[in-house]
Each structure stands twice: as structure tokens, then as C-alpha cells.
């Protein structure tokens, strides 16, 4: 996947309503020994929702 396509998929994940990424994007990623990809992506999603919510308030 090209860099810009990967970034677009990441952006779509952050902007989506659910912290669970689509399986196609998640399949391009690696987690760690005790951090799975879904949890890693949820950390980014929650951070985005938290800041965007604060700014909108």
C-alpha cells in the first residue's frame, strides 16, 4: 500500500465512530508481544475522539 493510501486509511479509522478498524487496514499493521493491533488502534482512536470532543465543547 502506498504511503498516502495508508495514511488515508488511518485517517478514516480515526474519523470513524467506532474504535474498531476495518479489517483491510488492520491487516497492514503489527502490534507487539502484549499489545494487539485492535488495542493499539483503539488508543489512537480514543485520543482523537477525546481531543476533538474537547475542541468542539
Amino acid at each position: 500500500m502506498r504511503l498516502t493510501d495508508w495514511q488515508l486509511a488511518f485517517e478514516q479509522h480515526l474519523l470513524s465512530e467506532t474504535p474498531v478498524a476495518n479489517s483491510g487496514f488492520a491487516a497492514t499493521l503489527l502490534g507487539g508481544p502484549t499489545l494487539d493491533v485492535d488495542t493499539g488502534l483503539a488508543i489512537y482512536h480514543n485520543a482523537y475522539i477525546s481531543v476533538a470532543g474537547r475542541l468542539a465543547a
Binding site: 495514511q7 499493521l29 503489527l30 493491533v37 488508543i43
Partner: protein
């Protein structure tokens, strides 16, 4: 873009919560790091305090929204504002993060990781050179904490940083806490990361705290520095020699005295590490 790297000593992040105390008490802080975006304004209280503090302390500018790896064109208005602020306060250097934070149409409010591929390398290196041309100084880039990585990676993060410094002439802000956080999350050895960076490119160190959830670690910058990061910091200074060190706090701001106490700890541990380095030389 070879140049000598000054050692500023031990600094703190400048936060509006502490403006009055800094001006009234002139605390024993060697320098302050300012979040550039907080001062990209015309006049007002923030600039008043910044100018007053700049008269008394060395400053460094640290940005959070350059998005050097982003898919969008670089924001030339933003860069001009950064340059104007640099002309105003004469920072020792200007830094931001090796990441992307803006997508195709949205500010994403985070320091997002890049795939460590040749495509990313040349993309970022070209943009670093563009930034350096506008700022007329080397850009200093910080390693970020991460929670996922790309399967397409062709380099380790430290290999990527080495190659980027070589290709672009940028310098590095080594965040010791971020190395620790990513090493726990991705299962690599933090010391391998640090000892494989180009020592001549490392201009500054960051120290900060995080949240440890056991199975993973989240970089929150809202806690005191933990013991494993202090250990890694000492090992880093024994390896590198003196490097300007900044104690960072981005949230849950404690009383200023608490930060000064933690900064004293950095100073003491730093002195001990440098003494050990001298003995081994």
C-alpha cells in the same frame, strides 16, 4: 549542515500555569522549551510573558503540528509564522516530531506513526529540507511513542532516524520516555534503539512520564518520570556525554516546586552519569 551542539543544561517546558512564578522567583532552571503553536498570535498576554521570560532564560521552540510526514503540502503560512517567532525570541533551536498529524482534510490532533519505508524516508527528507530552507536552520525532530507499526516497515525506527539525519541534515530530539514506551509496546530493546542513533545528531533529550497498563504503555506525559526511564536516561548520558535535557509535562500540572524537585533529580542523575563517563574515558 555540520555544526557544534551547545549544552544548555536542564530545562522545563514553559506553561502558562507557571508564568508568574518564573518571573517572580527566577527559579534555577537553565532553559525553557516553549510550545511554538501557543505563541503564533499577534500580541496578548502569552507573548508578553514569553518576551519577559526570553530576556532571562535561553529558550527552545518545540512544535506539535508541522506534520512533517503528512500526505498534504507543507503549510507555508505556518512555517512563516514559526520563522517569525524564531526571529522574535531567538531560540537555541526549533524542533517538532517525526510523525504526521494532519490527513487529507483534517487536523488529527495526534502524533501518528509513519511506516519506516524507503518511500516515507524520501518523502520526509524532502520536506525536512523544505522546512530548513524556510527556517534557515536545521530542524530537530523527535521520536514519537507508538502503538501500532506497519507490516511494510523496511527499517527499524532507529535505522530510519539515522538515514533521515544523513539524508536531510536534520538533528534529533531523543525522547527517552518515548523510546521506553515504544520498546514496551513493540517488544524491542530500548538500549539497542538509543545506542544505534548517530550521537553527533542528538541535540536534546526529553524526559517524561506515562501510564503503565501492564500489557502496554500509553505516553501521557502527565506523570513523573519512572525508574526504568531514569535508568535509561543515565545510560544514555554515559554513552553520549552532556546533552541538553528537558523535563516535559503536558497535563496534570503539579505545583511548580514539584517540577523543580524532579528537575533537580535529573540534574543529579545526569551529573552522576557524566562522572561515570569521565572515569571510563
Amino acid at each position: 549542515m555540520a555544526m557544534s551542539i551547545p549544552f544548555l543544561g536542564y530545562g522545563l517546558g514553559l506553561r502558562n500555569e507557571y508564568y508568574e512564578q518564573i518571573l517572580e522567583q527566577s527559579p534555577a532552571v537553565d532553559w525553557f522549551e516553549v510550545i511554538s503553536e501557543n505563541y503564533l498570535v499577534q500580541g496578548g498576554k502569552a507573548l508578553y510573558y514569553l518576551d519577559a521570560i526570553a530576556e532571562r532564560y535561553p529558550l527552545v521552540m518545540h512544535g506539535v503540528s508541522l506534520s512533517i510526514g503528512g500526505p498534504h503540502a507543507l503549510d507555508t503560512d505556518y512555517l512563516k509564522q514559526i520563522r517569525q517567532l524564531a526571529e522574535r525570541i531567538q531560540p537555541a533551536w526549533v524542533s517538532d516530531h517525526l510523525c504526521w498529524s494532519r490527513g487529507s482534510a483534517h487536523q488529527l490532533h495526534d502524533l501518528l506513526p509513519l511506516p519506516y519505508t524507503e518511500e516515507s524516508l524520501y518523502h520526509v527528507a524532502a520536506r525536512v529540507r523544505q522546512v530548513q530552507d524556510v527556517l534557515e536552520r536545521p530542524l530537530v525532530l523527535e521520536n514519537v511513542s507508538s502503538y501500532v507499526r506497519s507490516k511494510a516497515d523496511e527499517f527499524t525506527e532507529w535505522e530510519f532516524l539515522n538515514a533521515l539525519a544523513h539524508l536531510s541534515g536534520c538533528q534529533l530530539l531523543l525522547d527517552v520516555n518515548n523510546v521506553y514506551v515504544s520498546s514496551r509496546n513493540h517488544g524491542f530493546d530500548a538500549w539497542t534503539f538509543i545506542r544505534n542513533l548517530p550521537p553527533q545528531s542528538i541535540r536534546q533529550l526529553h524526559l517524561a512520564g506515562h501510564m503503565d497498563y501492564g500489557d502496554y504503555v500509553v505516553d501521557t506525559h502527565d506523570h513523573p518520570v519512572c525508574d526504568p526511564v531514569w535508568d535509561l536516561y543515565q545510560q544514555t548520558l554515559e554513552h553520549l556525554g552532556p546533552v541538553s535535557t528537558l523535563l516535559e509535562r503536558a497535563d496534570h500540572f503539579p505545583p511548580f516546586e514539584e517540577l523543580l524537585t524532579e528537575l533537580s533529580k535529573a540534574r543529579e542523575l545526569g551529573a552522576m552519569a557524566l562522572a561515570r563517563r569521565s572515569l571510563c574515558a
